[in-house]
């Protein structure tokens, strides 16, 4: 939608005045020339770098390993200089951009070393090395959300890829390794979230703190949804852990207790709510990991729906109406999957597919209505 049209709509909805509309338009007109100029500069730079990349790519097999490595090290050094210069001159985007690019270049350099010396390395080992050697400079130089998100995402991916191998390398019985793995996986979201609540990190790197909180909360919600799947398996999997069959339940209780204690210590109301959300999620995980729980598949749906209803409920104190939509949508889809589970063979027939499609459409329409009603009641919007 064009700016003029949008402004006219806002004006007619009495969101902005005519004077504001004119001021915005005249401000935007001033920047038009510069915008086109910047666009052309970007095209020229893209052509230069694109051409250079194509030349290198076309001759890649014929360039010796030594030249490739020297060129890459020089490129890294150039960006390290730009980064340092950006810091010395307090140029925000020069510093942040160079941090981001240098981090990426370190990863490609690791891959290139592996290529040149035929090291047969794996992606996970490359990422682990990259994370270890780049974390200090990314943390010290990168203050922007871009770098914080990049590092947090890299941390989660690296842990995900390496955790099993790291634990597998330990000389302990396999059931203890499994317990340790469950504990480590269950602890990552909690540690991320609690680190994000640290006042020191907030003062030092506010964007990193935000990124930790978001990643931690996201993983906790995803984990809560995922634990509902445990109801599909019988409790035999817990007995594979031998004398430690109670361990998954103990982890849930442990994290629930930690979050309840943190809730009483922390001052911020939002963090208190997040701690309560995490504690409730731990309790949901506990129900699925009890060694003596009933073995009923339907409980997977009940668990999921109840958990998402709780997530929707927490949207009110957190002031995040997007969570309500997410909860309503997921509950609808889960109930639809439950319907497919019940009527599986029918779905394979033509008529069954038509009925299923119609039911999904009706369910989504119903969900949309409920979403609007809840939001209107709770947040006073969009009725």
């Amino acid at each position: 939608m064009g700016l003029k049209r949008k402004l006219r709509q806002w004006q007619s909805a009495e969101l902005i005045s005519a004077a504001q509309t004119n001021s915005i338009l005249s401000h935007e007109r001033q920047g038009i020339g510069q915008k086109y100029f910047r666009g052309l500069v970007a095209i020229a730079l893209l052509a230069i770098f694109g051409g250079a990349a194509l030349m290198v790519a076309a001759n890649w097999a014929h360039i010796s390993g030594g030249i490739k490595l020297s060129a890459h090290f020089s490129l890294n050094a150039a960006f390290a200089y730009i980064l340092w210069h950006g810091r010395e001159t307090s140029h925000y985007w020069k510093r942040e951009g160079a941090t981001f690019i240098l981090a990426g270049l370190n990863l490609t350099l690791i891959a290139l070393i592996g290529q040149v010396f035929q090291l047969s390395g794996t992606l996970e080992s490359a990422l682990l090395l990259w994370l270890i050697i780049t974390t200090p400079f990314i943390f010290l130089f990168g203050t922007s959300r871009m770098n914080a998100v990049m590092w947090t995402a890299a941390l989660i991916i690296t842990l995900g890829l390496n955790l099993y191998d790291i634990i597998d390398a330990l000389s302990i019985p396999s059931y203890k390794k499994e317990c340790l793995f469950i504990f480590a996986v269950a602890s990552i979201p909690g540690i991320l979230m609690l680190s994000g609540m640290s006042p020191k990190l907030r003062a030092l790197r506010p964007e990193w703190q935000q990124s930790y909180i978001l990643a931690g909360s996201g993983l906790i919600i995803a984990g809560g949804m995922f634990t509902s799947l445990a109801w599909y398996t019988d409790t035999d999997y817990l007995h594979n852990l031998k004398s430690l069959h109670w361990f998954p339940a103990a982890i849930s209780i442990f994290w629930c207790a930690i979050f309840i204690i943190m809730r009483s210590i922390i001052q911020s109301q939002t963090y208190k709510t997040l701690c309560l959300l995490a504690a409730v999620t731990s309790l949901f995980a506990l129900t699925a990991s009890l060694p003596f729980r009933p073995e009923v598949d339907t409980m997977a749906t009940v668990h999921f729906v109840c958990f998402m209803a709780v997530i929707g409920y927490f949207a009110i104190p957190l002031g995040m109406h997007g969570l309500v939509t997410l909860a309503v949508l997921f509950i609808t889809l889960r109930l639809f999957i439950f319907y497919i589970e019940l009527t599986g063979p029918m779905f394979a027939m033509g008529f069954g597919m038509i009925v299923t499609g119609v039911i999904l459409l009706i369910a989504l329409k119903f969900a949309l209505k409920i979403d609007k009603k809840i939001k209107a009641k709770l947040f006073d919007i969009g009725a």
């Binding site: 097999a61 340092w84 047969s120 090395l129 050697i133």
Partner: protein, 341 residues
């Protein structure tokens, strides 16, 4: 000039990747240019998945040089002695880890969990993307010999340096290999060709409401070939019979045979476990056609044939099943018409 502590921390953080990656580069450069040099044969790790991304997945054929056994869990060491004929080629003895101190070897390789230990079977060699198809094809040709240079240092670990094809370093061997690959792909006799072959041992293999399968063997005896099952087989030369161009006359393509006259060559390569006669083949059909196929497979008098396409890689692909000279669909239609009142 006084540099603040804060500034030193920033400089160290920035220098850390350079220090670590520089050290890795220099230490690997040193490994590649020092230690004992050996030349060993390699084989595809899994011929069905040879080129993985930009990596050639291979294993070192230790067994070519001695009686070597054991995988990831092995703790034994390998003792390499230079052979009299070619000092780069080893003669290998597998020894216990506690014998390494007393063993008299030209090089010693220890077992471990890292890629530079001898007992890790899966290895990857980076290859330029433009070589991938040619190497994939060349690995399937048993006549090609793939070897690598190894450097073994004092730590008992190996580093792989260069890849050789038929004794020539990869980059030098590629133009000739590429030309052979292109000629194999474009050659007239290597065009995909479909043949109708007699089959035997038809057995119901998988029966369900939605799909039915049978297994069968090609009746090689019908074509005058006698090859025991589970034996490596030679390549086959197929030419059309004068009566019916779809029916082949098959002969064994010995290494010194002139293959120009062959319309198709069925190759025995690592892709099919070095045999065109190793495993029963399967044909599956869905719904009614599948049920009819299973019913027909139980009739002893029925004559079965399959149409097989031999592609430009020399592999067999089943395309169509024939019963008493008719396609399965036609046979079912005729059967239904025959049974109708």
């Amino acid at each position: 000039m006084i540099i603040s502590k804060n500034k030193i921390a920033y400089l160290l953080a920035l220098a850390l990747p350079f220090i670590v990656l520089g050290y890795i580069t220099l230490s690997n450069h040193h490994k590649h240019n020092s230690g004992e040099l050996w030349h060993v044969e390699i084989a595809g790790y899994d011929p069905r998945d040879l080129i993985h991304g930009r990596f050639l997945r291979y294993r070192i054929s230790w067994n070519e040089y001695g009686n070597v056994s054991g995988g990831k869990a092995s703790t034994d060491a390998l003792c390499l002695m230079r052979s009299a004929a070619d000092p780069r080629i080893p003669t290998i003895t597998q020894i216990k880890a506690d014998q390494t101190r007393t063993a008299r070897c030209d090089s010693l390789l220890n077992a471990g969990k890292a890629k530079d230990h001898w007992n890790i079977p899966l290895r990857q060699y980076y290859i330029p993307e433009e070589f991938a198809n040619t190497l994939d094809w060349a690995f399937g040709q048993t006549k090609n010999k793939f070897t690598v240079d190894l450097r073994i240092g004092g730590a008992g670990t190996l580093s792989v340096t260069d890849l050789y094809i038929n004794g020539e370093i990869m980059h030098k061997a590629m133009p000739a290999l590429k030309a052979a690959y292109n000629s194999a792909r474009s050659g007239e006799r290597n065009k995909p060709q479909t043949w109708r072959l007699k089959i035997k041992d038809i057995t119901p293999y998988y029966i369900s409401d939605v799909q039915n399968c049978i297994t069968y063997n090609i009746d090689w005896a019908h074509y005058g070939l006698e090859v025991a099952a589970y034996q490596n087989t030679p390549d086959l030369c197929l030419i059309p019979s004068p009566n019916d161009a779809r029916t082949p006359i098959i002969s064994i393509a010995a290494p010194d045979t002139n293959l120009q006259g062959c319309a198709s060559i069925a190759e025995s390569t690592p892709w099919n476990n070095n045999s065109w006669n190793r495993q029963p083949k399967t044909i599956c059909q869905s719904a009614q056609l599948g049920k009819f196929m299973i019913a027909q497979s139980k009739i002893n008098a029925a004559q079965f044939e399959v149409e097989n396409t031999i592609n430009n890689m020399g592999n067999f692909y089943s395309t169509e099943l024939f019963i008493n000279g008719q396609t399965l669909k036609d046979a079912m239609k005729n059967d239904a018409a025959h049974k109708a009142p």
